[in-house]
Symmetry: C2
Subunit: 333 residues, 2 copies
Amino acid sequence: MKKIGKQTIKFDNPPTISECSSIVGPKEAQGPLAKYFDKTLEDEFWGAKSWEKAESKIIKEATNMVISKSGISSQDIDCVFAGDLLNQCISSSFGLRETNIPFFGVFGACSTFVESLSLGSIATEAFANHVLCATSSHFCSAEKQFRFPLELGNQRPPSSQWTVTGSGAVILSKSGNGPYITHITPGKIVDMGIKDANNMGAAMSPAFADTLITHFNDTGRNPSYYDAIISGDLGHIGKDIAIDIAKSKGYNIKSNYNDCGVLIFDKNSQDTHSGGSGCACCATVFSGYFFKQLREKKIKKILLIATGALMNSTSSQQGESIPGIAHAISIEL
Amino acid sequence: MKKIGKQTIKFDNPPTISECSSIVGPKEAQGPLAKYFDKTLEDEFWGAKSWEKAESKIIKEATNMVISKSGISSQDIDCVFAGDLLNQCISSSFGLRETNIPFFGVFGACSTFVESLSLGSIATEAFANHVLCATSSHFCSAEKQFRFPLELGNQRPPSSQWTVTGSGAVILSKSGNGPYITHITPGKIVDMGIKDANNMGAAMSPAFADTLITHFNDTGRNPSYYDAIISGDLGHIGKDIAIDIAKSKGYNIKSNYNDCGVLIFDKNSQDTHSGGSGCACCATVFSGYFFKQLREKKIKKILLIATGALMNSTSSQQGESIPGIAHAISIEL
């Protein structure tokens, strides 16, 4: 691999995405992408005694599923990159503690899925035969931790997003027939001073635009090169802002750009306000929907840019703004 | 680089540790290693309005310091790996948001320093000229978040450890005169069922032993190969357990093994019970003390194994055990 331009890495032997798995919760199971997910849950607990334990179970079963589907023995997986939104990333560490695979914990808030694929791709070209990447989030554990106890029944403002319950897991392999991860463009932290923790789309869209445009500059590509440019969880408001920022910088992405948080819920019937969010939003929509579109050759080139808001409830209470980040990977047949 | 044995990576062109910096708090400034740290603070706030903001300032200044000491322009640093103990790693994201360098957030609890050096080493051999690695922790923000408000004045049990206030930052470079990171052995999650959140040393020492012995098996080395085998923050109790586990597996490490949490505070006069802990424990003791020992050729081969407890306060309240992890790097002149 080699660095090209300011911050993009181009792979000489692009890693193959060998297999993906996706598990989602009951609300996602009522959304427009329901039929693409491997498993849909009937309730938020899945037999566990707490939302946190349920989230651990979801990422555990998603990783078991992707290993099983791939036919690759877990002993042949060289390392795992995983993370989630819970404090100290306990969903991943508890969910994956029985895997017996060297474990790298990563945290990029809702950008974690693409961060794990980026580092997993580097590891695959550099030394590994197979790498496992996984992330999760859970509406109830996230609301409890970041906002209010669900039992309070607080109203949610129109700009708020709905954390996706679910997990997506991926196995990357050194050899295979694609789809291939050909480039990664890791993002810088971008903080434009947005302080509204109920408007994550606005806080993260400048980071999305920064990574998007850097990717185009570094690779010499333009928006029309890709069949689809997909952001992680900007939601309806953030998506509109992202289109506007890109346009102001000379890039028209309106025709082939969409957002996983926009796609996963039905705007009219599901009452999620600005759409989906969370580590699992991008992870399940990619693993469930886009990966199958690639495999069936319905699309051939995707630029996947997951966005994250690098704050916590303490930082918001202390009056801090919300630093955003966005990591991009280019996936091609 | 190539994988050797079960889980070790050997570098063909080992990255150089070009420079280190360390900043510590007032209690560490009264400890036996005080004179080795680059900067010691007079109070826990350093002019900031909260402990969290102080911790962000500490990691920010530690990274500014290592960049300044190295003479390398921040524009020439290809990426940063950073993480910390605060929820959603806000110390790192707020502290480093102005660096303008592609940012990979990592979380391995107190193993984060060596996790960041491991991934930084892979990045350096694979594509980067220079990589920045940094971690922090803060006694007051950690107590507030993981245990009790300091204002309560709770008694601490004898097995508890004292979170180090400080930050260590490192620049790795593709070329240089060493010390070199020659091998990394990333650890698996090991959970032996320990549930006492006031005895982290006991919870983490099995993970330390697992990675230690795997490293020896993978490399064909034995304890006497190294001038020093150093764990991150097992403390006095965990250190004794680690020696016992290693002995039971046929490895006598007693003569050249020590722990950063044991070294940073004076057992008799500083009342920290089982010693130091936190991401900054290993980071400051390595960056402040051992790096200088290597530069002055007083020691030539170190095996540095940082340990982490992958739990949070919710998991403990829900009756969960404490999964441990340990990542090892071999540093040689």
